[in-house]
Each structure stands twice: as structure tokens, then as C-alpha cells.
Symmetry: C2
Subunit: 351 residues, 2 copies
């Protein structure tokens, strides 16, 4: 009975590719595949390694190349996607090209509510600084009404909402603007840099919300211990995990997958949202992977120094930076269980 | 005790990338990651889909781009690879560029026998026809002395050995030439098109050999049931699986990983070679994945037709070809257990 087979849902992942290491699609593709998705991977760049090393080689795909690749999928009916996850895209024209893909998919499935869901990570900057060209900001703003879930960090949420975020009240206001003005159904602010009185030391928070039918925010918070190390690719891991987990949480609610943008009933409390369930599980996986990555770092550094032969000058700052950057690459393949079945638990609370 | 942590071995996978579907690095990266490798993926092309659809879009990396990407890895000490797997490379210059990477790694680790192992799949053609430019053949021939294991099909083995293969005797002769003339330690001929008297109907064979210290062939054969469907990416799946399984089989023999090219003692019989153990396990995984892919095809086709709306004209030959090609894409993510722990068993026999 072929119709009873569980077919893998199809997701289009658009992000950067690095030969060595784990950021962008190198993270997203493996995580989504490990969680059972049939992944189409459109790589917006191919770099030797991530830019945190401060040196790299490689090439960027032009907006035209992105558009052509998607046209290639379409002409062979390979565009039957259930979800799309977009991450780093080089330049405003590229952002618009990727946006056109998402708009096309929304249009294609406009008569099938809930069929297609777009998770947009508006990668623009962090800690008060843009690391893309300024014209990328309006390019993303123009796409927001088509996104189902966006994953900005605090700085990106400020850029998109034009609300300066300094505390929980202004953060909530920014979320409200994003729901109301841009009609974004689901929002998760993936990192916040201010502290609150009830915040335990050495902890971080994410804040999420699914809007009601009249676009009011329903905000929840999840707090988790931070790990004292700078990792790259954590945003990409978050994006891939939430793409899978939000689908899973929504599927657990009868009828919800057939509703436009998977919007919960108005009487569902913030902490009971599928988005909250999903984010809890995502953070559990992330905490385990990051803790194990941190734990393995000394051994990875030793191995790299050992392979460097006469070049292994541990006092050389640049070399030490490369070796440390490599050791901080997310340890994904050795932590498949943490991705698939995390045992840690975090709980969403009302704000 | 960080030194007791089991670190993932590092492999460099060089092959094509497709956005949708499973061939080239899209297969190799996931398979190797699922089997616990830290994979560096250097993509030689980015196409929308594989060429079996008869239409595609995308771009090829030039030889210079391949060389630059690798230089990028080197400058940040990201070239500490334990293994390398190379598959499809566009053009003779690209083949030479990839060969230079492998030669550099051989040179880098020349004082550490067995540290680095190169699995070379000389992708050139099949069934009597080249599908690359003629100058690719000598480019591969020039690299053969640096390879540890090569994975030609029957046609490619003919091209490399200059021996016309028509029966088991000429096949064995071709293998002998490859061992002797090109000093290739391990060889697996991944498909043979002639039949032998002892060959059961609807079965296929692979033939493998690990040379002795005086370069004599030790040939074994593994026969397995064929599945009546044309799949793309099977060679890439074979390459990724054998890369992992040969390492595993060699690690089971005390001291063998520290020997140049992991060459077994001369008194090890053909059917007792680690290469035979590895190939048995590879074919078990492949048989399970292909059988399950075949089984899911009707459901995948139904889903695609359903998504095509008014375009779903099942009598249109071209459309039917696209839909069937998509349904024949290897089902990897839903068959992780078959990749990691196949339960089927096949046994090598002496020729």
C-alpha cells in the first residue's frame, strides 16, 4: 500500500555553503535531513570556511544564478515544497531573488491553506552592527508580509520594526509592530542582550510570539544556561531545528496544519503555543550540542596543532585563532541523538 | 579527559552538488555524516537537479575555483584530512586540480604511513560511452598512482587499463594491469555487464581486489539481486559507503591503519580482505536503500502529480519522465538505519 508510506516532507533550504566547518546550509541541510526532511539545498555562496576565521576563499552566487537555479527546479516540477528556510543571502538583489521564490510558492499553493510555510531568518547583523549592505534592510522589509515565521536577533528585530529595544517592554512593542504592520504570524527573537530582574546569571533567553486573529502578540520566554564560548552557526542550527519542530508541534494539534500559517486559536495561551513547544525542544538540542562541542574543543585543538608539524607555533596569535575557530565548529555528526531526541528540558514562561 | 573523546575522522568529499535530489555530494555528504565523519564538501558544480532529467540549470566550478577553495582551507590549517573521496569533476583541468589536492595531502602526510587514504571514483562514462571530454581519460590515468582505492565501472576500468573486458578472465587481467602498472592498492569494479555460467538471473556483481606486496591481484566477487529500475547516484552512494566501511574494516585489524595504503599481509585470502568485508556491508546498505526507494516510487509519483495541478497531464511523455526521475531519487533520509546498520547480508566469494 504505497499510499500508507510516510513520505519525507520537502523543504527548500537557501543559505551559504562552506567546504569545511558548520555554518549556513552546511548545518541546516544535515540537521533537516537528520530530522527526516527531503532537503533541496540552494547554496548562495561556496566559501572555503566561515568568515569568523577572518580569511577565506570562494565565490558568491549572483541574484541571476539563484533565479536560474530555481527556474531549473520549476521546469522539472521539483518545486513541490512543503516548507522553505532561508538564511544568509549575499546582497539586496539576492534577497529579492529569494523572496521571489517564496512569493511564487505562496502563490502556487494559495488555494491550499497551510500547505507551504516559510521560515525567514533575516540575516543582517548583530550587536548593533550591520554586516550586510544597508539596502538589504529594506529588501527584507518588503518580504516580511510573505513570511510565516521570522527569526531575527535583537538587532535585526530593531532594524525591521524601527523600535529601539532596551528592555522587555520595548521588545514586546517591536514584536507587536512586526505582527501588526507586517502581518508576520510567528516571531522568535533568537537572542536578547538586555537583562531583566528575574534573569539568572550566565543565562540567555529567546522570546517568541504567535499572533492572534486580530494580530495581538502572545509572547513567551525561554531561558537557558549560556556556554562560555563564541560559536558560529548557532543561528543556522536554530533555524533548521525550529523548521522541523514547529511542523511537528503543529501536527500534534488536530486540523492546525490545514490552517493558513498554522495560526492557533485565540484562546491558546502563549506558553501553550506550538511555537513554544517547538522552541523548547530546539533549545534542548542546541544546549546539548553546544555543551558537547565545548567539551571536545581541547581535543580538536590538540589534533589540529599535531597535524601542523613545523607550523605549530602555539604562541602565534593568528594561528591560534584559526585553530580555535576550527575547534569551535559545531559538533553535529557525533551528536545526532541530541538533534533527534534531546533529553534536556526547558520550559516556556509567560512574560 | 578530552583526549579520550572519540573525534570524528575528517574526510574531504569532492563532487557535484544538486539543489534537489540525491546524486554526487548530495549523497556522499549525508551518507558520510550519518556514518560519523566530519565532512568537508567541495562542490564541483551546483546544478538544479541531475542530468538524467535531461534538463537542468546551474554552474560549474572552474579548475581555478577548485584550487582557490583548497588554498583557502590550507591557509587556515583546515587541511588535516584523514580521507578524501572524489567523484564527478567537470573537465580535465578540474580533474588535475583535484589530483593536485590529493597529491598535496599524500605529500603532507608522507612520514605517517596510513594516515591519509584517497578513494577515487574516476567518473568518465558507462555502457561503452564516455560522458566526459576525451582528455579527461589521460588526466585520470596520471593520477592513478596516488589513489589508494579506485571505483571504476567496467567501462571506466577498460579506459584506464586499456584492456577490453568481455569476461571474467579479461576483467581479472584489467585489475592486474591497474595494480601493476599504476600501483593502485585497492580496486573495486562497481558494475560488470557480462554474465558468467554461475551467475543467477536478475543479479549483479561487483569485483574487488587488494594487491599483495608484489602487486598480484587478490580478487573476490559479491553477487546481489538487482532491482528493476534505473537509479541515479548509486555510484556516489557506493563511494561514500565504501569510504566509511573500508576504514571500519581496516580498524578491526590490529596495526593495519598504520600501514601504507592499509595493505593486508600477503597471506590474507581474497575473501578475508578488509575490502571484501567493507564491500559486503556497502552492498547490504545499498540493496536496502534501493529496495525501499523502489517501493516508495508510486507514492512519490502520486504526490508530484497531485502538486502539478492543471499541468498534471500523465500522458505527456516529458512530464512523465520528470516525475519518474524525481520518484527514482534515492530515499536516504527515511532510511538512515539501512545506511548505518543494514541487516541484509551478502558474502564475498573467491573468483
Amino acid at each position: 500500500m504505497s499510499s500508507e508510506l510516510q513520505l519525507a516532507p520537502r523543504v527548500l533550504a537557501v543559505a551559504s555553503h562552506v567546504v569545511s566547518g558548520n555554518v549556513g546550509n552546511k548545518v541546516a541541510v544535515f540537521v533537516l535531513q537528520s530530522l527526516g526532511f527531503d532537503v533541496a539545498a540552494l547554496n548562495t555562496v561556496q566559501f572555503s570556511n566561515h568568515t569568523g576565521y577572518r580569511q577565506w576563499t570562494g565565490t558568491r552566487a549572483t541574484a541571476q544564478e539563484i533565479t536560474d537555479l530555481y527556474a531549473g527546479l520549476k521546469q522539472s516540477y521539483l518545486d513541490d515544497f512543503d516548507m522553505m528556510l532561508s538564511g544568509y543571502i549575499p546582497g539586496a538583489e539576492g534577497v529579492t531573488a529569494v523572496g521571489n521564490i517564496a512569493k511564487g510558492l505562496k502563490e502556487k499553493f494559495r488555494d491550499v491553506p497551510g500547505k507551504f510555510f516559510w521560515v525567514l531568518d533575516p540575516v543582517m547583523g548583530d550587536n548593533g552592527k550591520l554586516y550586510v549592505a544597508p539596502e538589504v534592510v529594506p529588501a527584507y522589509k518588503a518580504l516580511l508580509p510573505y513570511a510565516d515565521l521570522i527569526l531575527p536577533n535583537q538587532f535585526e528585530a530593531e532594524q525591521l520594526s524601527d523600535v529601539k529595544i532596551v528592555d522587555m517592554a520595548s521588545l514586546t512593542q517591536a514584536i507587536q509592530v512586526l505582527h501588526e504592520k507586517f502581518r508576520i504570524p510567528h516571531i522568535i527573537i533568537t537572542s536578547v542582550s538586555f537583562t531583566t530582574p528575574d534573569h539568572p546569571p550566565s543565562h540567555l533567553s529567546v522570546i517568541g510570539s504567535t499572533m492572534t486573529s486580530d494580530r495581538r502578540a502572545r509572547t513567551f520566554k525561554i531561558t537557558f544556561p549560556s556556554i562560555d564560548c563564541y560559536f558560529c552557526g548557532t543561528g543556522d542550527m536554530f533555524g533548521a531545528l525550529i523548521t522541523s519542530r514547529v511542523r511537528e508541534a503543529v501536527e500534534a494539534v488536530p486540523g492546525l496544519t490545514a490552517r493558513e500559517s498554522w495560526l492557533s486559536d485565540d484562546d491558546v495561551a502563549a506558553t501553550e503555543l506550538p511555537l513554544a513547544r517547538a522552541a523548547e525542544k530546539v533549545l534542548a538540542s542546541m544546549h546539548e550540542v553546544l555543551a558537547k562541542t565545548r567539551e571536545a574543543m581541547p581535543a580538536v585543538m590538540d589534533r589540529t596543532w599535531a597535524s601542523m608539524g613545523a607550523d605549530a607555533d602555539r604562541g602565534d596569535e593568528k594561528k591560534a585563532h584559526y585553530v580555535k575557530s576550527k575547534a569551535a565548529e559545531l559538533q553535529l555528526v557525533t551528536n545526532l541523538d541530541s538533534l533527534r531526541s534531546p533529553t534536556t528540558t526547558f520550559s516556556a514562561t509567560k512574560i
